[in-house]
């Protein structure tokens, strides 16, 4: 309904009746709603503790190739349905299919963005830090879910009562949304990542499942350093 609002508004303008003003008013209200989608924020502090070390479980995670194949199969089915509808001369109500090149680009980006195979989550009564191997940490403070803006992009985060949301908007239009939720037994962490580009109208979603692990049981410990990157040592490991 929301995407049809401008059309409704134009139809209303053409109609010379008192209802025009009512339609205009409703249309403007709807436009206003569309212009500022607000995240559903749960003001209560998160009850789930996400802390710990997590490693990706490839067996339970999506693969970008599989996901892409599945998306293409869906596009083919969609095209078939459209053709069939066109042949019958019937209107087709489905949403438009995005640009295939953009979809491929988003899939490659999804591979890049979800590359970190290890996470270290720290959580206290003030904030959560999701440190990702070879990437920047996703951080969120409980008191102020304020967007962190810079010239190079903007980050917004919030807790909706079930999962953490991290929204990254880059200047070229790419939008990356990570959602993190924890299993009831606390042994698994799900990361759902959706990449979209409103300019091309495409989006691509991929899920990764992480399992808890004990870093001291690996025989080595790694840490990120500014000057040398990732440095691993076997010293100090029990």
């Amino acid at each position: 309904m929301i995407s049809d609002t401008p059309v409704h508004a134009i139809q209303c303008l053409r109609a010379l009746s008192l209802g025009t003003f009512v339609c205009l008013f409703v249309g403007l209200l709807l436009l206003g709603c569309r212009a500022s989608p607000q995240p559903v924020v749960d003001s209560a502090r998160p009850t789930s503790d996400f802390s710990g070390h997590w490693e990706v479980d490839y067996a339970r995670s999506d693969s970008v190739d599989n996901q892409l194949n599945s998306t293409f199969r869906e596009i083919q089915r969609e095209l078939r349905r459209r053709n069939e509808a066109a042949e019958r001369g019937a209107p087709y109500p489905g949403s438009p299919i995005g640009d295939v090149d953009s979809l491929l680009a988003l899939a490659k980006m999804a591979e890049l963005v979800t590359e970190p195979a290890l996470l270290e989550v720290k959580q206290d009564d003030r904030a959560i830090w999701i440190e990702r191997e070879n990437s920047f940490a996703l951080t969120c403070r409980f008191e102020a879910f304020q967007p962190a803006a810079s010239l190079l992009g903007q980050e917004t985060c919030w807790w909706d009562g079930v999962q953490w949301h991290f929204l990254i908007e880059l200047p070229d239009g790419l939008v990356i949304k990570h959602q993190f939720s924890r299993s009831d037994d606390g042994l698994s962490l799900a990361q759902r990542t959706r990449l979209s580009n409103p300019r091309s109208g495409s989006d691509f979603t991929i899920s990764r499942i992480f399992s808890r692990y004990d870093p001291s049981g690996r025989g080595y410990v790694c840490r990120e350093t500014l000057s040398k990157g990732k440095v691993c040592t076997t010293e100090g490991v029990q």
């Binding site: 980006m109 890049l112 963005v113 010239l151 880059l170 070229d172 580009n197 500014l226």
Partner: protein, 370 residues
């Protein structure tokens, strides 16, 4: 339009643009440099440092206040932690520039205003984002006379940057101080140093040194001097030396801080500049060729994400360091006249405790009740 008038318009425009930045940071509640007049401050342009063969006589000691970070004291955000770190690092750089000029006596870092030194330099960070830096500086002497107020601007985008790092930004401060000191007669210089001594003595024993300094038409002036062999003055000098001890400890802490955080801070600034330049080039390319021309969709998104990721990694490294240092409140152990004293709390609190203690020691030596 002549070159001169073009330049004037450039500065006026820049001042207007930069004034916009002032509103970005929350006003400090305890700002040493009053913000209401900041819009009138002239910009001090980057210049070479005037280095003297030897300090001008009589030697002038200078106090550099730790910069006002321009954030509320209870602001616990990462950005505030970075600002507080900057307020110490940059004060240290100003101190280093003054020392390098070889024009002055001892140049000391102070947590807050003190009559310990004849002249104090107070600075407020108006804006800092890693790339652009705006500082308001004021030099004020022991007679409450403001020597100058200036705005320092480091803005690579506006073409206002130092070729040899931020330290060069402070050359103008040293040069202006030097000009102001040289413009005073020998008598005025001696008078200021004597007035500073009297002010210090006054805060230890207000009654004993009452009347030596008077306000005349809104101006503090030296009315008379205590006798050279006044035993009270000798005691004051000894107490003063004890306060110097505190400043020396701050100095040691600054050196340690600069060693620990200086490289990360520089990397952060460098990353901020590089990323901003990258973004400008990217936007120019998009504007000139169209968003879909040239680069493929993946290449564009990858470059954009890589730039953002790189900047965030640098920023988070600095924030982590700044937050760790921000929460550190190291106790300080200093030898007083006959005992070792442990000072705790923030640096400002430690300094206030130390000064109160020195005042008590002085009162005890005088036989007065503290």
């Amino acid at each position: 339009m002549t070159a001169e008038s073009s330049r004037t318009w450039f500065w006026v425009l820049l001042a207007v643009v930069l004034h916009g930045c002032v509103t970005e940071s929350p006003p400090s509640t305890d700002s040493p440099v009053a913000p209401d007049t900041s819009r009138e401050l002239a910009i001090l342009i980057s210049q070479p440092l005037a280095v003297a063969e030897s300090p001008r006589l009589p030697v002038l000691d200078i106090g550099v206040l730790l910069f006002d970070p321009g954030v509320a004291p209870d602001d616990a955000s990462p950005a505030a932690a970075v600002r507080r770190l900057e307020s110490k690092l940059l004060a240290g750089q100003l101190r280093d520039t003054l020392v390098a000029s070889n024009q002055w006596g001892a140049v000391r870092l102070l947590p807050e205003r003190s009559p310990l030194v004849p002249i104090t330099i107070e600075t407020r960070i108006v804006h800092s984002d890693g790339r652009d830096l705006i500082l308001d500086v004021r030099a004020k002497d022991a007679l409450e006379d403001t020597w100058f107020r200036r705005r320092l601007v480091h803005s690579p985008k506006a073409g206002l940057e130092s070729s040899n790092g931020l330290g060069e930004l402070f050359n103008g401060v040293s040069n202006m101080l030097s000009d102001s000191w040289a413009a005073r007669s020998a008598g005025q210089r001696e008078s200021l140093l004597a007035a500073a001594d009297v002010r210090y003595a006054q805060q230890l024993a207000p009654q004993a040194f009452d009347g030596y300094l008077v306000y005349d038409q809104g101006q503090l002036t030296l009315n008379r001097l205590p006798a050279q062999d006044d035993p009270m003055l000798r005691r004051v000098a000894r107490i003063k030396n004890q306060e110097y001890l505190f400043c020396d400890t701050i100095d040691e802490q600054y050196v340690e801080l600069a060693e620990r955080t200086g490289p990360t801070y520089e990397l952060w600034r460098q990353a901020a500049v590089e990323q901003a330049e990258w973004l400008e080039r990217y936007e120019a390319r998009v504007a000139s060729r169209g968003a879909n021309a040239g680069d493929g969709a993946f290449a564009r998104m990858q470059a954009s994400y890589a730039a953002y990721r790189s900047y965030r990694i640098q920023e988070q490294a600095l924030t982590e360091l700044a937050e760790a240092l921000d929460s550190e409140s190291r106790p300080m152990v200093i030898n007083a006249v006959d005992r070792a004293v442990t000072l705790e709390g923030t640096l400002e609190a430690q300094y206030a405790t130390w000064r109160r203690l020195l005042k008590e020691i002085y009162a005890l030596e005088q036989g007065d009740a503290p």
